[in-house]
Symmetry: D2
Subunit: 474 residues, 4 copies
């Protein structure tokens, strides 16, 4: 069956390829037309008969419009293409009189904003899907403080969750034989550990003990949606630098026992909240297990992007107290480099920082009761368990600034994933290894008081945003 | 860009192909599980974390179930997976108090039946889309007289219109190098002029003056959705037999001036009302024009499936009268073969039948005001015009029984399509050539009375159905 | 590396595909030109600079020529394009004076007929290879009794052995998703057990317990070179009919222990003596073992095409004697159907026929000392062993006529193949199972005399030819 | 037919790809075996039956051998695998007695060194072709002064000319969607204008007015054989720097009238004397004309690598005289930078240098009567004409050192190519534009004497080699 699929698709794709050349983009010279008129036309019968051409015109016009024009148009879409109100009101009345499947069905149909049908029709031309993803980027950029756009955004998110259904995604290995235009995008989209050059990229793709996988969608074949970088190792790594070193002696893939997910990056801002990372990790685990049956351990080496922000806020509190940290002032050195008088990496710092981290991961919560760290929320939500906290795992400037150098490993134990997920989702239970729990135990039983006061620090910019929508999640 | 797409896809598809072998069908041995329990599980958080595996289990169980079991399950889906009623009621109340975008958005979300999310999750495993299309076949089979299934059917149709959005379809040429499994399906699905053997098929695909195109969907790569057979000719043909003759001398494609669409077949019952034929014809016209710039005329040679049924009903009326047909009894011979005393193909029959046909196409209407012929509704709705009525165009047994041997040509004049469509959709204007109009003119000005009475005949079975959802539309 | 290869090739092939359309066949209208003049032009500098176009012209002209014209041209090639004689004579003289590597190299170069360079240049246009293979068909057809063509034929065979080097061949699985044009050729080329219809073909390709593989060459991508049909079973079959039955219950491939090669057909007459069958079997064995590790036994179910011819000749001898067959007259009934008074399949016939068969395979020899049966020579030469002789294994008309109903199994025991081959090639030792040997033992120890005399029968036509160049070898 | 080819190949390639993974490289751990014994085994019957495995072993052993071991082995191949001498002597005798086609054929067969069959068998495993190309690199490296290797080298060249027959090559466009591993090789193999970075590469591939094409062979799918870089322009460029500038404003491909071949690089040393460049240029011209019908002019912008070497030699001669250069001392400044007292780019230099260049191209000859410039020999041999000499066309360090800054344009006028080639090949006539001829005319009519003497300069290293086998030819 697989060969079948392959074969068949090839033809289709070849045909499609041809389609793109001469057929579907009749004239990109088109001057920006009246988008509103086009939108209305698309929703009439004319839209049905000449839909592809009209939709192409719409998309070309939108692409050619300037920011101001686009913004006005998005507002018009938000205002004017909601549900047909009289039909909706009638449907409500009918429903309230008789709550039958039929009235419910009509209510459902009537409540759908006309925008959704508009977007479905805009999706018809080749390139339509990608254009709508870019349109949503514009919506998201304008969204903060613009409640009117919320419904518009919800409509796009709703459609995207259908169109980018996991059944339509394709997992592809990215390696050194991948087309350069795709690789250039991998360099561009990498959000966790910057790729500094093509040689750096090559060192992450070509060696026998490196893997990279991405999800693609048939309608956006040149655009990775999310990708993960994997190192094959013989134990669980505690620090990132050796993994990224350009000069390494790779091991044979067959000799590896451990797959380390050390970077996961979402690529498309316009697909925010259409989550793929969870599925990607699971499918990559399956893929790796099949190819390399000796792999036993699937684990991340992840950043802790929220730690220093949280710590600042904690230290800024009056009567600041972190259980297990006897002397909070030890931690203050983390905020300034050693050469500027900050504490060096002493054993005291290690103990205090690990205790604080255990508290940060296992005890501290957002107002809504979730873990503070966005990466933790992602992996715990997937059913992973917090396996190890690595002191000075990332001593790059960024690693020190965000996490005081901390990195953590999340373990994907296939037998426990579902139970972990259930316990986390339903009761907020955080799966953690005994070693991590022990850090906490010690911590919780020791009195901890900060000695000197520290000035209140403002929370880091965008942290809330990062917490909800991490672009990178390893 | 096209090469790009090709290249990229190939990898994706190869990966996907591999995926199918070992990964995604964990155990087809699974005994039919409790579908209801699985449905509920899929809609919880567990569905999120183990969704693909659960969905696969669901689909396997459904496939393994017997008719009775399936029917019970469909009923349960229809009854139990509508909208969350308390959420819906609250949303209505909020909306009625404040008709804002936000309350509308919530109302829209609340009105969506839980089934839709269920189906989206069932669509995740490889093969999910095809399985749901087959599930809808079951729904449609049970639908007549079963109002409870209507909402269920509407939900599936709604999702399919997103998933089978034209942007996701791929046009593929079908020819003698197409894989045999696909060709076997072309033989099976042909609904207008039966394909009698592989040699018959070959004679429709391989000669230089024949073309065939189909739409495919990435998730159902082995299944054509709709296909059209085309003959390249030097004039507009009036009869079907020479086109289908096994022994023909083909012309060179470059010498053709006319493309004749002589058969269009929908393949997937489960995709009823998710219309592709319109799009197919237009894209094929584009494709042909690009490859063969000398083509000037795009025309069908189409059956008239409703004619004899209508004629029977007319003749059965008291005071039956068809303008332009002086002696209705001439037409009665059409209902019995010449050898059984029926009228032979005399000039009198020709005149009377053409006049009746002009009336049938241009004047007669269904109760809702549409043309009676389902094929006419399809092509006129696409913006084609009724170009010519061909007397004795199809004298096969089927052609005589359905249409008294009539065939017609619908002309796709690219410059007129949109205007034709508008006039038809908005004012019910039927585009017809002067020659066809003239048949009517003559008809309308002549008094016509049937001489002897004929017994009332029942309308043909399924005609209404065929009228709304023609499986074949050429 | 494999993905790499795939990816790369796709582009190449796409390009090539495009190349074929507009580029390389400048004008097929060309009137048949003077082939001799073209041949000479191709061998000059002009051939170097405009070689592809000239070669295309040559090939077009040859294809357009009638038989007489072709024959004259082949004769001219045979006569006039040998080595440059004065250069050759000089090279011989230099060599005879000083047998150094350098004079040998020059002698080698000088001895090469100019035809070879001509053919290499004719091979440049797309389609050149296939055209030359067809040209050799013409040569072979005229070869018998035409000594002048021998050198021409040898030149082609020499070039083909380079061009069709195993490194350039590609093994492809043939199944029900293979393009129909290829499958039509499988039907056409099947040489052992005729494929009677597309349904018959499907029954050999689609069931889970059937496989078919072919070798292809990049330059003749639409033309299988040789193919083998395989049945997956749970024991070694003795008769062909159940394997070919349209109504069978297939087993799961995973449950099979035995792969039965029941038909091998060479497809290209023009590639005679460029042997692929040996390589095909071995590569298919590897392929099957990798996909289905439970397969333990690789065996053929093969015809015995030379048996009845040999038997006729034996019986026609004066004092005919076959060790182990007491009464030769028992065997005479094999030559006429039971209904015409021939012997039915009695136990006496069975014993006599098996003894004769053992003698035929293990003792009887051609004048040059090889086994008489061409299929036996093929498989024994590959290192297989004669495993079992099946009485009445093929009671079709053809099976009875050629082999009196006998079929045999040759076993490919991977551990023994090389030793078997060596012993056969160097000492003429025939590998056979104890069971087969036992038939012989019994035979050899029994006196055997024919009772009545039979008239001398002529040897069957083409048997010598078949012996050397079996088109079918299973 | 092209789709057909595509489709078919895909399967083949997919199969082949799979083949590479598990099948054909049984154990790369193999310790270096006795190559001589393996060679002999390969040439026996055992080689026939287990050829692929044996050949793989041979290739693995050779790859694993150190330089000394390889060198000894190549010597053994050169010494011991020539023709079978007794067979050869007998064939000569038979031929001398009767010069018939049959004795010629036998002589031809007998004169073939056994090495050739050995290499054909080594070519059987996947990767064999590439391995033999690398082996020839070793031969070529040792060849100078090692006459024994000549015959070995000739055998490889002979086989390669069959295997790399133009019919087997595939033209592929190289662009920004090409796999990165191929692009890395383009960077590595570029021999004319060094590619300094991936951005530099991208600027040569991605803009709308840039093209790059390469030839590939099916058995070396990751290895370009030769490639050409093309700029699309609106006139014939005189200088290279603007073409290579990273910051350029590209024109639309459709607006270009001129295709400039500004770099051609051979990639495989092991394929020396198996010429592709000629074919590549012609096929690329066809490809470009088809895609961009407005292109009218096909021209190179080429280096003049032999100019300064020749000039040095001329100036070093006693009584040096270059017609048209009145004062040779003007030219001496070309050998030292202006800042070191060399002449700046004055009008006097311009005139003298152009006159000298005209003489260099049109009059000066190698001892064997060919033009001195290797690039000129290549393009003139292809039938191009010397169109223009560009003073200071390449003022890079390399351009000044090799050519005193000169570049030239060779024009490929499709109507004149064949005649140009004939005149050049047969009578040594050099096709040149009137403008170039005029430079000479002037030159030839003016007396030219060098004023001061210059010291004799040695000819530049490798120039003879470059003359015969230019790696880069634009």
């Amino acid at each position: 069956m697989s060969r079948n699929f392959l074969q068949e698709f090839l033809e289709a794709v070849a045909e499609r390829g041809r389609g793109l050349i001469g057929l579907e983009r009749p004239s990109s010279q088109e001057r920006p037309a009246d988008l509103l008129a086009l939108s209305n036309a698309l929703l009439t019968g004319r839209g049905e008969v000449s839909g592809v051409a009209l939709a192409q015109q719409w998309l070309d016009a939108y692409a050619a419009a300037d920011d101001e024009h686009r913004r006005r148009h998005l507002a018009a879409l938000a205002d004017g293409f909601g549900p047909d109100q009289s039909r909706l009101d009638a449907a409500i009345e009918a429903y309230l009189q008789d709550k039958s499947p039929r009235t419910m069905a009509e209510l459902n149909a009537a409540a759908e904003p006309r925008r959704q049908e508009l977007f479905r029709r805009l999706n018809r031309p080749a390139g339509g899907t990608a254009a709508l993803v870019r349109l949503r980027e514009d919506v998201l950029a304008d969204l903060p403080g613009n409640a009117k756009l919320e419904a518009l955004d919800a409509d796009l998110a709703h459609l995207f969750s259908s169109w980018f259904n996991r059944g339509f995604l394709m997992l592809k290995r990215i390696d050194w034989t991948t087309p350069a235009n795709i690789l250039a995008k991998i360099i561009q989209y990498e959000a966790v550990h910057t790729i500094h050059s093509w040689e750096d990229l090559r060192s992450r793709l070509e060696p026998s003990d490196r893997r990279c996988f991405a999800f693609f969608h048939p309608q956006m074949a040149d655009e990775p949606l999310v990708f993960v970088e994997v190192a094959l190792t013989q134990d669980i790594p505690a620090t990132i630098a050796p993994l990224l070193a350009l000069e390494r002696k790779p091991i044979r893939a067959e000799d590896a026992t451990t797959a380390v997910f050390y970077s996961i990056s979402n690529c498309q801002t316009g697909l925010r909240r259409v989550s793929f990372g969870n599925l990607l990790i699971k499918q990559v685990v399956e893929e790796l297990r099949r190819d390399l049956p000796k792999l036993k351990t699937f684990v991340t080496l992840s950043p802790v992007p929220g730690f220093m922000g949280w710590l600042k806020r904690e230290l800024a509190k009056k009567d600041a107290h972190i259980p297990g940290v006897a002397d909070l002032s030890v931690l203050e050195g983390l905020f300034q480099p050693a050469e500027q008088g900050g504490t060096g990496p002493t054993e005291a710092v290690r103990e205090a920082q690990l205790a604080a981290a255990a508290h940060y991961f296992l005890v501290a919560k957002t107002p809504s009761g979730a873990p503070i760290d966005p990466v933790a929320r992602f992996h715990l939500g997937n059913g992973a368990r917090l396996e190890r906290i690595n002191w000075r795992g990332d001593v790059s400037a960024n690693g020190l600034r965000q996490a005081g150098g901390l990195m953590v490993n999340y373990l994907y134990d296939l037998d426990a994933i579902e139970a972990n997920h259930e316990a986390f989702a339903n009761q907020g239970v955080i799966a953690a290894s005994p070693a991590v729990r022990k850090l906490l135990k010690t911590a919780e039983t020791q009195p901890a008081r900060r000695k000197p006061a520290v000035p209140a620090l403002p929370p880091p910019a965008r942290s809330a945003d990062a917490a909800q929508r991490p672009r990178s999640t390893s």
